[in-house]
Symmetry: D3
Subunit: 256 residues, 6 copies
């Protein structure tokens, strides 16, 4: 059920029956010469709406702009500060509880949002406002990602490319080789990223001339479909698991 | 040009040539028994993208959740505080200037956002960060609105209904009479809204049992099309006017 | 009853009997070559204290500096940010409730404060802290204003001039014609204030060379007296209306 | 020169010639059964305006509500938090510098404001915004205070009583003995205020049943006049001293 | 008992029996050519741990960096803003109450922290979170300080020097005369510190060329031992006094 | 060189020659029945001071209380919010740059601080304030950790136990088996920690009855010495690497 498409009487019926919501969050930021800046929010929204459609749980509109300052050197990247992103998500989530929501899945497709979403989720949990889970799509299907791609990215790499090939017609197919050759195929093997255990880069531009990583030529729409199906299945299972928890299980533990 | 669909090299070309952006902002909130909660963000996004397509100027993704606490008594309404909304919009706008943007049109379709957007625009102007204009679609075509509808609303009334009839298939046509009869046809004539010059209501629920105002049965898709065309034309003109200003005209005046 | 003139035992008696307070708020900002910068806070304080004297309700001291950055280009204008103004007023109001106040009238005489006061009042209402009304004096007597003056201003125009003529000896009578001729007689007819429905000015200086609007030569102390009497009467009625409400009427509505 | 009474052209002339302003700050809080809650802001405003009149320097309107939570148990006390008070004063001061002010005297008559004003002044100094001095009236004439009164208070005691007798007709003369007998004559000799070097009270109510200290029967209008003259003289001297400083003397020192 | 050295089961036993904690707070800032920058935090920690050892009450780790911007012109001085210091101490204290603490002694050895600690303590008291006392070591033994030293400082003077001689081997004995001669022996007699009752200095550098005050050659380890013993005794007494209070005595008074 | 032990003239000499500082950060929180709550700040401080001693770079005092709310259910855990921790560290770091520091190593021994330190470091880098690196000791020697221990923890496990055995006499050797048996030997194999890719725990208490993980009986002081030596060596190398960078290399990249 997509909240934005419904009227309030229909939503009233939902809240009387259920207390779970999916909140998609992405970013609007450079994804190399071949992918649209929408990449992350398209993935998050597509997964969240598909899982909502399959399970009947509620999906809210998408937060389109997130924590992306580290991509600013590439034109078009939009961002807000971590403080403001946290406040925006925290309030939006707190306010869902007015209607009876007490469990939330943050359907996330942008690595830069992860820490912030976990911080917000911890605050909401400690305050007993609600139980919110940060779920990053590709962390739910790591084996499949490894199986499909030799150099999967992360940012702007073949797993995101394949997803966009499957979900949209916005991929510049003629730029896939350029994306690979102008970027960094294997970030983990690259020089200058870690020094004695400390990460020594701050911005995507520090590592990659075109902003992306991995071998994009390895991506196909068919692989994207596989990924999308597998991740959607994970997400549906997570929603069912979460909906099945007793309210008590979702509260903080007592002091020892 | 829609920012989210483009790659960074394409956007680089845009920023080298132009310095204007349209930012659509709406809300996700109850709009009566007949309209989807998306109503405001659908209108804002549709107008902004259409004007961007016609003029070639850049349109960013939409801010979907705004200042709507006063609709919270109706299920599904989402909101953030004015402080957080202002911060989110301010930062998102400030950060566009990193790429060269120095003039922005906030394409707004939610009355609750107006004061906040003007406050942000004033701050950005005083700080000489950029020149941002708050533009509320129906304030650009007041005569046409009056001509088309006897009781235009405002909230959830025939002007919004007509727009959604034109733009989507999400209107519950069988609820139009119910919307009218369960709400308040003429808010200005209603009792209890003003007392000795002071507004004595805080929430939509204080005035209307079903959250909406005006005569929704007066709406048609054809009227919606007229409104959409007229407002789009106004917005295109505004963009051209703004793009034609000299940078100096857009800065604060000197002290007398 | 004027809070600042009383001792705590006298105020204790008041709070045991009543729960309403008037809080005057103005600004300290340029009002053209003919009016003192005190104009707005003089009007607010005079009306609030007069209404308090007539009704017996409590009037607090005046907040003298408000939201006036848009007048900064004219010497002497003082201001604080909207954030700080809201915090100052919000806390001052919250803290009155410690003594038993649960209903407040913000007696306001500065347009720049309106949005901020409404935002504060909404927060206080939603939090069930108290019921505060923003009351702008000239909005309570619009017909009389229109009847008395052809070009009423707004800022620094004849309605404010007449009020100050009635209340003080601070009006530079020899500057009335200069005020009119060096400013803008009819702001609504002036060029460059609106473009396709968007307000395109940020500061008073953008529109008026001397900072004021309307025809000041139309003002007299007698008209000021009429305005003062009429507005005081409105304010007294508002206080009585508000004091007569049941506590329950003043709380937010329940969810539908 | 009193800013609020002047027009902007007159103030323009002042700012072209001078760069100093006096800002009066007080409180609105209980002062026992004999003094009005205005006591502190009346004293601050009277001294600041008198010194401005004698020296020709500029005096702004008064900040009437300050840091007084520790008097809240007595009806009518108004207060804001230290954070908000600091922000209000800081911004108001920063914004005076737009007009050319670079030196400010905070004319203070409330002990609870002292730390906050010094903190603000330090911030403004370190940021090279301006040079602001916190001046507490009775600290400028300690010998005279000691000479005139055996038990001077501080809060609501004879020195404040005498000042109000001189400046207003708001003193309840018939309550002076009650004030003394229902309060604490000698706070320094009272039990329960200090323990092993630590102050063990938080609120005025912790020490005094009626909120005041000292021997109020020792106050007379004549003594008040003496105090007022002496303190005004000190303040005038301070203004002249400050105005005579070179701009460079007022900036922070360089690192050693 | 030193919290940091214990395991949680041991601390569980403490919290079941007691509800008092000592929190040492100092600074890291210049103390002249003869003393280490640790001076204040060494003193605070030493006193707090000694008193904890003698009484059995709990001592937490030390807050090492405080409010010291006014010493910044001397190399090595570290500082945070008053806002951040207050937040850090407030939260750390609030969170101790999770474990059952309801009374706290801030064992402070830095004058620059005093106002901030008192503000935090007032907030905690008013909110009924806990009862926290600011205790500044040398204010507990003023007579002894006066007896031991003719010119005691304050900053970097003989009382602090003696304490460090007793507690550490970090004092540069060969710099004591230089400290005295390059600084200010008698700050109260110095010119330029007060003007008509207003303090006219902001930074230590404004008064003292080498950052310190008093006659350091008057310090000995034996005097330091005397001071340390006397202050420890005061602190132990204070803890016993505080622990003996009924919970009710420690709450804010009711309104009159 | 340890900042706190030095006088300002000695530090002046350092800042004239070098521009690097090490800042140790830990936590004060439960570490099971066998380890002191100081564990993390002892490790951080020991490594930072040792590396400073060997390389001659400057080490500041330690931040002892960090982000540990997730350990609150175990007595004695102290914490501040992420917002306040970030502000405290950010300001302390910014202010070091007043003395000429432009590169900083955060020597961190608490996982809960990692995200916050990286966020602060990113802000400082983007603002061109300085180049700060978050360095977590055990991430610099992952192979050695794996080689020494089969089940290394993380929290309160054998690697931390061994370090404390080497550095202090605070380890309760008789509790090592209890620590292992009352906790969770292999967190990665434990049930209930992840669900479909989402972490489903918020507090240490959610996973472990005694708050710790791994096999503590595997720890020895000799292994601790090996770890300490290896990590110190990594840290020294990192300092030398960082000190050798050109200032330009440490600034953000230009836009593409």
């Amino acid at each position: 059920m997509y909240l934005a498409d419904e009227t309030w009487p229909d939503l009233k019926a939902y809240f009387e029956a259920e207390s779970l919501a999916l909140v998609p969050l992405g970013s609007t930021e450079q994804h190399g010469p071949h992918l649209p800046e929408a990449t992350d929010h398209v993935i998050a929204e597509s997964l969240a709406r598909e899982a909502a459609a399959r399970t009947g749980y509620l999906c809210t509109p998408t937060v389109n702009v997130g924590i992306s300052r580290h991509h600013r050197q590439f034109p078009g990247t939009m961002w807000v500060s971590p403080d403001t992103f946290r406040a925006y998500v925290r309030e939006l989530t707190e306010n869902l509880t007015y209607h009876g929501i007490d469990r939330v899945v943050y359907v996330n497709a942008h690595g830069g949002n992860v820490d912030a979403l976990r911080e917000v989720a911890k605050d909401l949990h400690a305050a007993e406002t609600c139980y919110a889970l940060e779920w990053m799509w590709d962390e739910s299907v790591p084996e499949l990602v490894d199986e499909l791609f030799e150099h999967n990215g992360p940012h702007g790499g073949p797993k995101e490319t394949a997803m966009l090939q499957h979900l949209t017609d916005l991929v510049h197919e003629d730029q896939l080789a350029a994306a690979r050759d102008g970027g960094v195929r294997d970030i983990w093997a690259a020089e200058g990223t870690y020094q004695n255990g400390a990460a020594t880069f701050f911005d995507a531009r520090d590592n990659s001339a075109n902003g992306v990583f991995g071998d994009q030529t390895d991506a196909t729409a068919a692989k994207g479909k596989q990924l999308f199906e597998a991740a959607t299945e994970q997400l549906c299972e997570l929603c069912e698991w979460l909906a099945a928890r007793e309210r008590d299980e979702l509260l903080p533990a007592e002091p020892v």
